[in-house]
C-alpha cells in the first residue's frame, strides 16, 4: 500500500470501519513505516474521538414533552372529526390542528401580528357561525338590517332600535372598511407553513373621519373605484359578536385567510360534502387589540 491508497482508507481505519482484513493489515503496516501517514492516522483517530464525544453530548437529547402533547392533541382532534368526514370535518380538523401547531412555532412567535391572526381565526369562524346561522326569523332579518344599515340609515326595519344602533355604528365603519385593498404581500411576516392552511395578508388601516385609510396612507376610498368590480363581486362584511363589538373601530388590520370549507362545516355552515376540501377565501377585520370584528366571505 502506498500513501495514496492509505489516504483513501485512513478515515475508515480510524473509525474501525475498514472491514477488509487484508486492507486493514496493509494500512496499519504502512502507517508503521510512513511517518506522514502515521500522523494522518493520528489526526483521523483524534477526530473520530472528538466526533464521538460530540455525539455523546447529545445522546440523551429528545424532543420536549410538549411536542408529544401537541401531537397527541392533534391526533385526538383528527380522530374525533373522522366520523363526520362526509361533512368535511376532516378538513376542519386539519385546520384546527394546523392552527394549534402554528401557534407554537418559532416563526409565528416572531410575528405578533401573525399570531394575532391565527388566534383570531378560530374566534372569527366561531363568530361567523353565529352570524350566519339564523336562529329565528327575527334574528335573520336583523342581521340583514345591520349589514345594510348604511343603505338604510333610518333603521326603521330594525326591530331592536337600541341594539341596532350599536351595531349600526360599527357596521357603517365596517362597510367603509371593505375598501382597503389587499394590494401587497410584502407585509406578510410569518412564513407560509402549509399550502392548504392560512395565508396571511395583513393590511393595516385606520379610520379617519369615517373613511378608511390604508397603512401606507393611501385612501382606501380612492382605491375603491378601482376595486369596484372586486367589491361588487364580494359579499359584505358581517359583524362578529366577539369582544366589545360595540366599540368604535378606530384602527386595525384586515387579513385575508384561506380555510377549507370543512372548517365552516364544522361550525354549522352548510357545505357541499363533495367540495369540503376546497379552500374558501375570507377577509377578516381585526381590531387593534387583535379581536376579529367582521368577516367577509369572498367568491
Amino acid at each position: 500500500m502506498n500513501c495514496q491508497d492509505f489516504e483513501s482508507v485512513a478515515f475508515e481505519l480510524a473509525r474501525a470501519q475498514l472491514l477488509d482484513a487484508a486492507a486493514r493489515e496493509s494500512a496499519t503496516a504502512h502507517a508503521g513505516s510512513c511517518e506522514l501517514c502515521a500522523g494522518r492516522l493520528r489526526r483521523e483517530r483524534a477526530l473520530t474521538e472528538a466526533l464521538r464525544e460530540v455525539g455523546a453530548g447529545t445522546r440523551e437529547a429528545c424532543a420536549p414533552p410538549r411536542v408529544e402533547a401537541a401531537l397527541l392533541a392533534a391526533f385526538r382532534e383528527r380522530r374525533a372529526a373522522a366520523p363526520a368526514a362526509t361533512a368535511g370535518a376532516v378538513g376542519a380538523t386539519r385546520a384546527g390542528s394546523w392552527l394549534a401547531f402554528t401557534l407554537r412555532t418559532r416563526a409565528v412567535r416572531r410575528g405578533l401580528a401573525s399570531a394575532a391572526v391565527a388566534a383570531s381565526l378560530v374566534v372569527a369562524l366561531a363568530a361567523a357561525w353565529r352570524a350566519l346561522t339564523p336562529k329565528t326569523p327575527g334574528d335573520q332579518l336583523q342581521g340583514v338590517a345591520q349589514v345594510s344599515k348604511e343603505q338604510s340609515p333610518s333603521g326603521k326595519d330594525d326591530p331592536s332600535p337600541q341594539r341596532g344602533e350599536q351595531h349600526a355604528a360599527a357596521m357603517i365603519e365596517v362597510k367603509g372598511g371593505q375598501a382597503p385593498p389587499v394590494a401587497t404581500r410584502a407585509a406578510r411576516r410569518a412564513p407560509r407553513r402549509r399550502a392548504d392552511a392560512v395565508e396571511h395578508l395583513p393590511i393595516a388601516f385606520r379610520m379617519d373621519g369615517g373613511e378608511v385609510v390604508s397603512g401606507e396612507g393611501e385612501s382606501a376610498a380612492a382605491t375603491a373605484t378601482s376595486q369596484a368590480a372586486d367589491a361588487a363581486g364580494a359579499a359584505d362584511f358581517v359583524q362578529l359578536a366577539t369582544g366589545d363589538s360595540s366599540a368604535p373601530l378606530e384602527s386595525g388590520q384586515m387579513v385575508r385567510v384561506q380555510v377549507p370549507r370543512a372548517a365552516l362545516a364544522a361550525l354549522g355552515v352548510p357545505v357541499n360534502a363533495e367540495r369540503a376540501g376546497e379552500l374558501v377565501k375570507a377577509d377578516i377585520l381585526l381590531a387593534h387589540d387583535g379581536t376579529a370584528r367582521a368577516i367577509r366571505l369572498r367568491p
Binding site: 483513501s8 478515515f11 473509525r15 511517518e35 500522523g39 493520528r42 489526526r43 483521523e44 483524534a46 477526530l47 473520530t48 474521538e49 472528538a50 466526533l51 464521538r52 464525544e53 460530540v54 455525539g55 453530548g57 447529545t58 445522546r59 437529547a61 429528545c62 424532543a63 420536549p64 411536542v67 408529544e68 401537541a70 401531537l71 397527541l72 392533534a74 391526533f75 385526538r76 383528527r78 380522530r79 373522522a82 376532516v90 386539519r94 390542528s97 401547531f101 407554537r104 412555532t105 418559532r106 416563526a107 416572531r110 412564513p191
Partner: protein, 207 residues
C-alpha cells in the same frame, strides 16, 4: 390494538392512521429522539429541532402524507422529511437578522450552536475541543454535514445513512471522506492559530 414492542414502524403507522392513539404514541416515542437529534445537530438550534420533529410527525397525520412502504422504510422517510424541513428552515433563517438587545449585543439564541443552552454549568463542562468540533461540523456544507451527523454523531451505517438521505452508499462514503478531510483541515487551522504548528498539532488539538 395495543402497540407492542415488536411491531414495525409501518404497522404502527397503519394503526395510527386507523385511529389507534397508542400506536401513534409508540411510533412517536420510538423515532422522535433520533429525528430531534438529527435536526438539532444539523441546525444547532433546539427550537428548530423541536419544530422539525413536530412537523414531521404532524405530516404523518395528514391524509396526503407521501410515505410509500414500497419505496423504503418509514424511518428513512422520517429522516428524509426531517432533512427537508431542516434545509427549508436553514434557508429561511438566512432572511432573518439577529436583533441587538438592550446591551447592544446580538441576540444569538437560535443561531448559536448547541451552546445556545443557557446553563452555565453545562457550558463549563464542555471542553473547548468539543465545542470547536461542533462549530466545525456546523460550518460544513449541508451535504457533508448531514453525512457527518448521521454516520459519526448518530453512528448510522453507510447503508442506513444512504436510505435516510436517498442516495447511494458510495456517495455517503465519499462525502464522509471529504467531510472529515474538511474537518481535519478546519481544526488544524484553528490549532495553528493558537500555537506554532507541528506534526502533532492537530492530534493535540483533539486530545
Amino acid at each position: 390494538m395495543r402497540a407492542a414492542p415488536e411491531q414495525t414502524d409501518e404497522s404502527l403507522l397503519r394503526g395510527a392512521r386507523a385511529g389507534d392513539e397508542s400506536a401513534f404514541a409508540a411510533l412517536y416515542r420510538r423515532r422522535q429522539a433520533g429525528l430531534y437529534r438529527f435536526a438539532l445537530q444539523m441546525s444547532g438550534s433546539e427550537s428548530v429541532a423541536e419544530d422539525v420533529t413536530q412537523e414531521v410527525f404532524m405530516s404523518l397525520l395528514a391524509a396526503s402524507h407521501g410515505f410509500d412502504a414500497a419505496k423504503g422504510s418509514l424511518s428513512s422517510y422520517l429522516y428524509g422529511a426531517a432533512r427537508n424541513q431542516v434545509l427549508r428552515r436553514l434557508e429561511r433563517e438566512k432572511a432573518y437578522v439577529a436583533l441587538a438587545d438592550e446591551n447592544g449585543e446580538a441576540c444569538a439564541c437560535d443561531e448559536k450552536v448547541l451552546s445556545a443552552r443557557q446553563d452555565p454549568l453545562s457550558e463549563l463542562a464542555r471542553s473547548e475541543t468539543v465545542e470547536a468540533v461542533r462549530q466545525a461540523v456546523l460550518a460544513l456544507p449541508l451535504h457533508y454535514r448531514e453525512v457527518v451527523v448521521l454516520c459519526e454523531l448518530e453512528e448510522m451505517s453507510y447503508a442506513e445513512a444512504a436510505c435516510a438521505l436517498g442516495c447511494a452508499v458510495g456517495t455517503v462514503r465519499s462525502r464522509l471522506h471529504r467531510a472529515r478531510a474538511l474537518l481535519v483541515e478546519r481544526l488544524k487551522s484553528l490549532d495553528e492559530g493558537k500555537e506554532p504548528a507541528d506534526d502533532f498539532g492537530a492530534a493535540r488539538c483533539f486530545a
